[in-house]
Symmetry: C2
Subunit: 204 residues, 2 copies
């Protein structure tokens, strides 16, 4: 790493923390300059525009997520062990995130879903990339015989995303101490449903 790379990384690190508090849309070059006590012109030389800064913060956050969650899970054997590793890494990420304002991506998703433009496009692509890691891991697990072959990997990804989003809201907004055990139980139920059919309903 050159000195320039280190400086850039230090700036992005601070910018990412600031974005988690202000919301990504509140992250401007001016706000970052105030926060870091740097000149706006110096930061403009690095980032050129608010949108470029916001996109680089998303890329930086995504790289942290890949290092913390995705890469370690790829060392686990395919199928159920890898899916469990992805889930555990994601839970750790949600619980121990160093970002003061919570997960940047969850907040940015509602902030930018109605703001067309390059920031929204990049955010949506990064979310699709992550959800496709889950779907692909599921499909490989089905190939290993860990999951039923007739299950839809995209369905599994959307369901797992829901478990994490609900956990996020229950723990952060509602401060519910049972949010985590419930999220774990939901994950076990999701895995179980992907490995065994439901009995026919008999109690109606």
């Amino acid at each position: 790493m050159t000195k320039g790379d280190l400086t850039r990384q230090a700036i992005l690190d601070r910018a990412t923390r600031l974005a988690s508090q202000l919301g990504l849309g509140g992250l401007t070059i001016g706000a970052l300059a105030d926060e870091m006590e740097l000149s706006k012109s110096g930061l403009f030389a690095h980032f050129r525009s608010k949108e470029a800064l916001q996109i680089q913060v998303l890329e930086y956050g995504a790289a942290l997520f890949v290092e913390a969650v995705v890469r370690p899970a790829l060392h686990a054997p395919r199928g159920e062990p890898r899916m469990r590793a992805l889930f555990e890494g994601w839970m750790d990420w949600a619980r121990t995130s160093p970002l003061p304002g919570g997960c940047l991506f969850v907040a940015a998703a509602t902030e930018f879903d109605d703001r067309p433009g390059p920031v929204r496009d990049r955010l949506a692509q990064l979310q699709r990339d992550w959800l496709s890691v889950i779907a692909t891991s599921f499909a490989k697990g089905a190939g290993e015989g860990h999951f039923l072959a007739d299950q839809d990997p995209e369905q599994f990804a959307q369901d797992l995303y829901g478990i994490m989003l609900s956990y996020h809201h229950y723990s952060r907004l509602l401060g519910d101490s049972k949010a985590e055990p419930r999220a774990r139980r939901a994950f076990e139920t999701l895995l179980a449903a992907a490995t065994a059919p439901l009995l026919p309903t008999t109690n109606r």
Copy 2:
């Protein structure tokens, strides 16, 4: 309704739309005055403070939600029919929301989860109220024999909330046309798991 009530309701209606676009935190008396071409002092007389305005917008949104989703579902018979009515009403709310920026509560949850104060407290209470409608409906359904008695109603509520949050993100941010059929399928799986035990896993 008096003329004053009507005026107040018209103002809250515009304020709620504006909040769905700006984020609830961006909804100030000044921003609302600009939007409505009214004087700030007139609006101050109605609302007194930014926080009071934000809280009244939450109350107004919650009242719309109760009218659109909760009240009609209470006409359905207890148990599975009522749970289906709640789900259908919630899906309709998410799909056909008149708010240009999408569900106010989903956005406000990530915006305010790290901002202690009266707005966050009220938001959390409104969310708890809604989740307890779901949990109570589930418990009553178990009493009717529609759901297994050993299932945790709070677990059901957290799981159902996850299905809706994930649907919200997949449809609004990712523009995924399969988001809705997947959400419906997840709901059917959730109901099925609440009515019948899983077979033991045999395919590992």
